[in-house]
């Protein structure tokens, strides 16, 4: 028995080791290149510091862009609620197999397509700007939030729902009066978590032209104005920390 355990351990170690060697080679990891190129990084940092804090050209547009980023994240989250809720309810276990499979598949598809790809698609439809970002976040978020929500609903105690079914309540009445009240705290927690993630995603969406502070970061890099970029990154840092603190505080009060 112990011999077999040793053999299993040895195989696991060899396989894991092999995977890492393969990964090392595939990603062209080269500490030497990093050491040799330190001058490039030093120059980059020297240009980035001190940050450019000019109010009219940098700080004010940056703050406005941060608000846009926040707004993209907010609308992308809020407007995805109805569809996410629908797919989550249809995708809970114990439902008609076809309905279950279809809704799970739709959510998987929406999840599998990165929001950046959705953004590129919507940019071709509505042009560059924040609206494309909002549409992209809605699509991706319906898939992720729907899945998280339907899993939370699957974990809920079926007892109160049974009690209402016995009394002759319809399926929608059972969901509204037994399933949802039991899961709402968990659902709100997951919603806030997604808001947090979506604000960060909307930064990346800005890089592909969907407006917001991500767009300004991209622009300043292309114009080699690294001191402006540093200002924007500092603003992003403050924004992310603020959103994180806010959602953590609300989730704590729910729990």
């Amino acid at each position: 028995m112990t011999a077999r355990k040793y053999l299993t351990a040895a195989i696991v170690i060899v396989v894991l080791g092999g995977a890492h060697v393969f990964a090392w080679q595939t990603t062209e990891v080269s500490p030497g290149a990093l050491v040799d190129g330190w001058r490039g990084m030093a120059r980059f940092l020297a240009e980035a510091l001190p940050p450019d804090l000019d109010w009219d050209t940098v700080v004010q547009p940056g703050l406005e862009a941060c608000l846009t980023t926040l707004a993209i994240g907010l609308l992308g989250t809020t407007l995805s609620i109805p569809a996410a809720l629908l797919f989550a309810v249809l995708g809970t276990r114990g439902r008609n197999r076809i309905v279950y499979q279809v809704s799970r598949s739709v959510m998987s598809f929406l999840r599998a397509v990165p929001d950046v790809v959705f953004a590129l698609v919507f940019v071709t439809a509505v042009g560059l700007g924040p609206f494309a970002g909002v549409l992209a976040l809605i699509c991706h978020n319906v898939g992720v939030l729907g899945k998280l929500w339907s899993e939370a609903m699957d974990e809920v105690d079926p007892g109160p729902a049974d009690a209402l079914r016995v009394s002759g309540a319809g399926e929608a009445q059972v969901v509204a009066n037994a399933v949802l009240p039991a899961v709402v705290p968990a659902l709100v927690g997951l919603l806030l978590y997604r808001f947090d993630v979506n604000v960060r995603s909307s930064l990346v969406l800005g890089l592909v032209g969907a407006g917001g502070v991500g767009f300004l970061i991209n622009q300043s890099i292309q114009l080699f104005q690294f001191d402006q970029m540093a200002t924007y990154i500092l603003m992003v840092l403050v924004l992310i920390v603020a959103v994180d603190l806010l959602s953590a505080a609300v989730r704590r009060r729910l729990g």
Binding site: D157, G159, P160, D162, A163, L164, R165, V166, S167, G168, A169, G170, A172, Q173, A176, N177, A178, P181, A182, V184, P185
Partner: protein
């Protein structure tokens, strides 16, 4: 007496295991019947078949007024909602969707009816409290009120006092007996405590291996009967 609940030839198997092997029983309006039996004897399954939470393989169930109400061992209230909102939820059947999707939409007459049911179980003063803040015995009485709000003539109870302390158990059993004797409901409860059955019920049915093996008035229930139900191997060896 008028039969409010009549069960005939109820059969149910889970795979190869026969849980109900032709169960017949009646409960009259105004009667409190207790079903006793060891774990796995099929008591709870019989109740679940009657209310439609499990589908019987064969057999007939006739219920006066078509639908029975039920309370459960695990109580199954929505703990975050108020007591009165939980009771209202028992009366949702037949309400239009537009009035039943949230407690703020519940019609006034449903609230009034729920309040009367809550008063019936002696908890009208706790109407606004969160259901989860009540003790186990109080929560089970709220669950009874929710079942009453359904307006059914038949009330089933699946081990309603198994999770309660003795004082609360007595209180709930007295309530169930009163609902039969004063309010004229047909009440059937699955129990694990023969003593409670003796003290509160009118009639006792005993299930063994999926069949009714005992039917007696509660006052005639003997220790030998109980032994036969709970330790059949020892008795028949």
């Amino acid at each position: 007496m008028e039969k409010a609940l009549s069960v005939k030839g109820l059969r149910k198997s889970f795979g190869d295991r026969v849980v109900l092997n032709g169960v017949d029983f009646d409960v009259a309006a105004g009667e409190f019947v207790v079903l006793l039996g060891a774990n796995g004897s099929g008591k709870s399954t019989a109740l679940r078949c009657v209310v439609g939470l499990a589908e019987a393989d064969a057999g007939e169930v006739a219920i006066a007024g078509d639908r029975a109400a039920m309370v459960f061992q695990q109580i199954h209230l929505v703990r975050r909602r108020s007591v009165i909102d939980n009771v209202c939820a028992g009366g949702l059947a037949g309400l239009p969707l537009s009035r039943s999707l949230s407690p703020v939409l519940f019609p006034k007459d449903l609230r009034a009816k729920a309040m009367a049911c809550l008063d019936r179980v002696g908890l009208a003063d706790r109407a606004k409290d969160r259901a989860g803040s009540l003790s186990g015995g109080q929560q089970q009485r709220v669950a009874v009120a929710r079942a009453l709000c359904q307006g059914a003539g038949v009330l089933l109870a699946d081990e309603p006092v198994s999770a309660l302390d003795p004082a609360a158990a007595t209180q709930v059993m007295s309530l169930l007996a009163e609902l039969a004797h004063r309010d004229g409901l047909a009440v059937a409860a699955v129990l694990h405590q023969p003593d409670l059955a003796r003290r509160h019920a009118d009639r006792v049915l005993g299930l063994l291996h999926g069949e009714i093996r005992l039917s007696t008035s509660a006052s005639d229930l003997s220790d030998v009967d109980i032994e036969a139900l709970y330790a059949p191997d020892r008795v028949f060896a």
